[in-house]
Symmetry: C2
Subunit: 151 residues, 2 copies
């Protein structure tokens, strides 16, 4: 059940998550948007890329920063299918992402509303606005399906 | 004042930090070591690389994972001149770093003994052994000098 129509950007992030699953990676996807334009997309890929930092958010943020030629993504939104982990929440803060939209919450690995709650400490030098639960059913279904197949 | 002789790996990390300063970046450096061999080095470089994730730890971890052809740096040590932030602590956990050695603590941005304390939550799926305060005087001097020049 989705409580409101799925925004276009979350649909794109979910499409990225499906690509990750097809590559045998945990299905998580992300999109960076600036002023209504999709700047960059990313999907989870640590195994095939031999890169432990290759989470969807990091891939999308790095790509967007390359495109803008700036380490700071001022005025940008990040849409991601799952609650970011501590690494990705930290990257979101460093990148100065203005608004974070995420799908499912992640009690096992999340660090926004769970665990380390990275944005809630004074050591976090930038806090995005946070909107959770957008596309959470679709996101959780993808993850459940992925792990069910692998058992 | 250093309370014990500076280990070789921290000296290498400090040399990386000095390289960062010469490039106009905040002087922080890191080294990944496996079984006594230096696998990879990294230094802070977000501005020149247009990459908000380009912290010393991330650069060293990504380089080491490429060399090993594995997202998991099993049995590896990370030596870094400053207490890792939330992003880097998260990356250290994802990379399965066995032992973390760091120089100065960072009350303003650290997330190991300060702030988010990333390794202390059940959402953190791997905890390295942590050794702090190695080369802290040298590390803090580098940072102070860098920011003094810029004021």
């Amino acid at each position: 059940m989705t409580r409101w129509p799925l925004p276009e950007y979350m649909a794109l992030a979910l499409a990225q998550a499906r690509e990750a699953a097809q590559a045998g990676e945990v299905p998580i996807g992300a999109v960076v948007v600036k002023e209504g334009r999709v700047l960059a997309q990313g999907r989870n890929g640590p195994r095939e890329r031999h890169d432990p930092t290759s989470h969807a958010e990091i891939e999308a943020i790095r790509a967007a920063a390359r495109i803008l030629g700036n380490e700071r993504l001022e005025g940008c939104e990040l849409w991601v299918t799952l609650e970011p982990c501590a690494m990705c929440a930290g990257a979101i803060a460093h990148a100065r992402i203005a608004r974070l939209y995420y799908g499912a919450s992640d009690p096992k690995g999340g660090a926004v509303e769970n665990g380390a709650r990275v944005f809630e400490h004074p050591q976090c030098l930038h806090r995005p606005e946070v909107y959770a639960g957008i596309g959470e059913a679709e996101s959780a279904d993808l993850l459940r399906g992925f792990f069910r197949e692998r058992r």
